[in-house]
């Protein structure tokens, strides 16, 4: 009986010892993949919104190489959205968006840094500049 009890205890210890950390690792990896996806989607959405938004008024006054930060948005306490407009050439601007998801201790969990290359042109007869996405406009940061 003692042998059986000890064996069952050993089995239970194995189940807990192998199963619990494995399940925990699986849960953590799944949660991280989900967070990365959410952050990526948030950056894509923010870029699309900003393209239609308020950047074009400030853009023509900038010189090539100059950049201008726009106010950061905090979607919630743990998600920060940073936006920056950079003029990369006389005819091209870059809308840069960085979305960071942080944990309760303000440590970065996942970040997505994406940009759109956009142009401004004056259509015949128009007094205002028209914004347009160039061919292959999307860029992702390598940092």
């Amino acid at each position: 009986m003692i042998v059986v009890a000890l064996s069952l205890l050993a089995g239970l210890a194995l189940v807990v010892g192998i199963g619990a950390p494995a399940a925990s690792a699986e849960l953590r990896a799944g949660r991280m993949a989900f967070t990365e996806l959410v952050v990526r989607q948030a950056a894509e959405g923010e870029l699309a919104r900003w393209f239609e938004g308020d950047w074009a008024a400030a853009a023509p006054a900038m010189l090539p190489g100059e950049g201008q930060s726009f106010p950061s948005d905090s979607v919630d306490a743990r998600t920060v959205v940073e936006r920056r407009l950079v003029r990369v050439s006389p005819t091209l601007w870059m809308l840069q968006v960085r979305v960071v998801e942080r944990d309760l201790t303000a440590r970065d969990l996942a970040a997505s840094y994406q940009a759109l290359l956009v142009g401004l042109r004056r259509e015949a007869g128009d007094s205002v500049l028209t914004r347009y996405r160039i061919a292959r406009p999307w860029v992702q940061a390598h940092q």
């Binding site: 009986m1 042998v3 059986v4 000890l6 064996s7 069952l8 050993a10 089995g11 194995l14 189940v15 010892g17 192998i18 199963g19 494995a22 690792a25 699986e26 990896a29 993949a33 990365e36 090539p64 190489g65 950079v86 990369v88 050439s89 006389p90 005819t91 091209l92 870059m94 840094y113 940009a115 290359l117 142009g119 160039i134 061919a135 292959r136 406009p137 999307w138 860029v139 992702q140 940061a141 390598h142 940092q143």
Partner: protein, 276 residues
């Protein structure tokens, strides 16, 4: 005189047999639990490999695009085989003079993985057009020499490259941007009876660098799809459907039983961000 009650030989034999049966059962239970635990770890390894493969593909291929001059960034060249432009970043071109191109390395540094290398990397240089010619496309150019020290307008330290333009004789903007890339191939290949996912640098004619595995046979499928989700060619694709099937590393054998190698799969569809 006191009488002592002992055990007979029969009783002792029965007790030993019962103990042996119980011990055998306990050992089998323990072996089963250990085998299950180990096979679960193997399964976790396969799942982690699938996730890593999906992450690699999403990162490398999300920026695939198409335009009238550079064409499509990828081509499915066979079963489980795709050649593509492996993007290494965006460069700020500060000056262009004939076949010489100057890059400002400080600008757009966050958007660059590494500077291009002659003989291996190529460029897509953006042609913005002007009031006379409305070009909106990227011109392919191979890097012939560089990086060499150069100077950008205004005396800023720059990097000089000599390039070979591809089939274009028109003007190139003085200041523009260029995407650098290395021609790569991702393929499923068989090594000593085991299928792996590997990457090859096509310009350098290199050997296959193993990326992930082991795959199930035919376990890497790439299907270009259009907006309606119908499988199409590379030039009409707006997305990619990827199907991956991986095997656990080995069978698990503990005690009398064994768990054979298992298969895990992952399928996902990704949008290509740079198609028109």
């Amino acid at each position: 005189m006191t009488m002592r009650r002992g055990v007979t030989l029969i009783e002792l034999l029965v007790a030993v047999v019962v103990a042996m049966v119980l011990l055998t059962m306990a050992i089998r239970v323990q072996a089963t639990v250990e085998r299950t635990g180990r096979s679960r770890l193997e399964r976790l390894g396969a799942t982690a490999s699938l996730r890593a493969a999906a992450k690699l593909v999403r990162w490398e291929w999300a920026g695939f695009g198409f335009d009238s001059m550079a064409g499509a960034d990828f081509a499915v060249t066979g079963a489980g085989r795709v050649s593509y432009r492996g993007q290494s970043g965006l460069l700020a071109v500060c000056h262009v003079s004939g076949d010489t191109l100057f890059v400002d390395p400080a600008r757009l540094a966050a958007w660059r993985h590494r500077l291009p290398i002659a003989g291996r990397d190529s460029l897509l240089v953006y042609l913005p057009g002007d009031s006379a010619i409305g070009i909106d496309a990227w011109l392919p150019a191979s890097v012939v020499s560089g990086p060499d020290p150069g100077v950008c307008p205004g005396g800023i330290a720059g990097i000089r490259y000599r390039v070979a333009w591809t089939a274009y004789a028109g003007p190139v903007a003085e200041q523009t941007v260029a995407r650098s890339y290395e021609p790569l191939e991702l393929r499923a290949y068989n090594s000593a009876g085991s299928w792996q996912l590997g990457q090859v640098g096509l310009a350098s004619g290199g050997v296959v660098q193993p990326a992930l595995g082991p795959l199930a046979a035919g376990g890497f499928e790439i299907l270009p799809v259009n907006g309606a989700g119908v499988v199409t060619g590379a030039t009409g694709a707006t997305g990619l459907e990827i199907r991956l099937r991986m095997l656990t590393g080995r069978e698990t054998a503990v005690g009398p039983g064994r768990v054979p190698r298992m298969e895990d799969s992952l399928g996902f569809r990704m949008r290509l961000e740079n198609v028109p």
